[in-house]
């Protein structure tokens, strides 16, 4: 490590973008180098003076409205406008919409329950078959790359050992007729499977706690991923796990 390297790497260090090994190297160099110590301090001081909020722009309200106006309207809105134009068709349209709405709701609920069942089965299988992990490591930097090329999405592998949930490893599983990533954690003697399936266009969904066959399931959608945390730990602890995971994900 020389000063030229440190000049670049100290920025990555400040941004928290270095792995532990490189971070140690840079810190060791800076600690022993008066020039780089000053540079790092100057840079930190300058960044502190830079307030991102003051540099941000807020989109004008009219712009949002213009964009929304150019995107296709929701199906219900389109139908009701048409219905107003063709006044006589109003009754038929409304009942057709109502019927489709009910159908969609029924299908979604059924679908959700079926997928939930599949996930719990996958959790059970992983416990019974002594096949908890394909890659066994408590290092997120080992587990995460392992999924590369095995799934068309990079699952978030986050080490929560410091928060009381030990990372055991990862596993490729199969649920709902699709490959899914399973990230495996341990809480005391209890196993937590965190299943991740890509859902590119799905909007963010608040976490929901459910119980099935004696297991607790916390499911939510974030960053284009459907996530299910499944375990026999209490709903409170599973909520704690989910919240810590979400907090780490946003960092």
């Amino acid at each position: 490590m020389n000063c030229d390297d440190a000049d670049v790497l100290m920025h990555a260090l400040v941004d928290g973008e270095l792995d532990a090994g490189h971070a140690r190297e840079v810190e060791a160099h800076i600690a022993g180098c008066a020039r780089c110590t000053v540079k790092l301090r100057d840079m930190r001081d300058f960044r502190a003076a830079m307030v991102p909020g003051a540099l941000r722009f807020k989109a004008p309200a009219g712009l949002r409205a213009r964009i929304e106006g150019k995107l296709p309207a929701a199906p219900a809105a389109v139908a009701s406008r048409r219905a107003v134009v063709k006044g006589f068709a109003l009754g038929a349209t409304v009942s057709a919409l109502a019927a489709s709405g009910v159908l969609v709701m029924v299908m979604r609920t059924d679908d959700e329950r079926r997928v939930l069942g599949e996930m719990v089965s996958a959790h059970l299988r992983s416990l019974q078959a002594q096949h908890l992990t394909d890659v066994q490591s408590s290092d997120q930097h080992t587990v995460k790359p392992w999924f590369n090329g095995r799934l068309d999405v990079a699952p978030p592998v986050i080490d929560l050992t410091a928060q009381g949930f030990t990372l055991l490893g990862g596993r490729l599983d199969y649920a709902d007729a699709k490959p899914v990533a399973a990230i495996v954690y341990r809480r005391r003697v209890h196993v937590i499977n965190l299943f991740c399936a890509p859902a590119p266009a799905a909007p963010r969904r608040q976490a929901k706690m459910q119980s099935l066959h004696g297991f607790n399931v916390r499911s939510w959608t974030e960053n284009g991923l459907n996530l299910w945390a499944i375990s026999d730990i209490s709903p409170d602890e599973l909520t704690e796990f989910g919240e810590k995971f979400e907090a780490a994900l946003r960092q």
Binding site: M10, V51, A54, F57, L63, A74, R204
Partner: protein
């Protein structure tokens, strides 16, 4: 069409897109303001970005949507530059001043400018675009290096060295003004 789940999904596409993409409007708009010459041009670029993103929403592969949107915006801005040359992009020291630099200053404006936000905005506007954009993406839009690499279509090493230089340039420009 009623009751066919495929139709329902299609109809809901715009809703899903809005729910995912519109929360990032301010971030997209901010980058546009730093890349385009005027606020009207920034408006147009953002609008074009969202329409283009919606047209290609089927190709969005998941993960965070913000870098995906910002990459589209950047391409839109490039396209404008290629066709009309209205973009600051790629210039460094052209005659026309960016909009956040006031041509003639009243005393009040000078006072305002002395506030760090205005001053930084102006100094940032003076940076060559490849350095300006990494500062906007990292410091203002708070993207990770990996996401910045996605947006500017460059390796992470390039992101790292460019950001290091950009911060150094901005700091020196800042100090040069403090001294005067």
């Amino acid at each position: 069409m009623a009751g066919d789940p495929a139709d329902w999904n299609d109809g809901g596409k715009a809703e899903r897109f809005k729910a995912l993409a519109l929360p990032h409007l301010d971030a997209v708009y901010t980058l546009a303001r730093y890349l385009m010459r005027g606020s009207a041009e920034a408006d147009d670029a953002v609008q074009e970005c969202y329409l283009r993103a919606f047209r290609h929403f089927d190709t969005f592969r998941g993960g965070p949507i913000k870098p995906w949107l910002l990459a589209i915006l950047r391409n839109v801005c490039h396209g404008v530059y290629a066709s009309g040359g209205r973009l600051i992009y790629g210039d460094s020291g052209e005659a026309a001043a960016p909009i956040w630099r006031e041509a003639a200053e009243t005393p009040e404006q000078t006072m305002l400018r002395s506030q760090s936000g205005d001053k930084l905005r102006r100094l940032l506007g003076d940076l060559p675009s490849e350095f300006r954009e990494v500062i906007v993406l990292r410091e203002i839009n708070e993207l990770s290096y990996r996401d910045i690499a996605t947006v500017i279509e460059a390796p992470i090493g390039t992101v790292m060295s460019r950001l290091a230089r950009a911060r150094e340039m901005l700091r020196k420009a800042w100090l040069a003004e403090e001294g005067t």
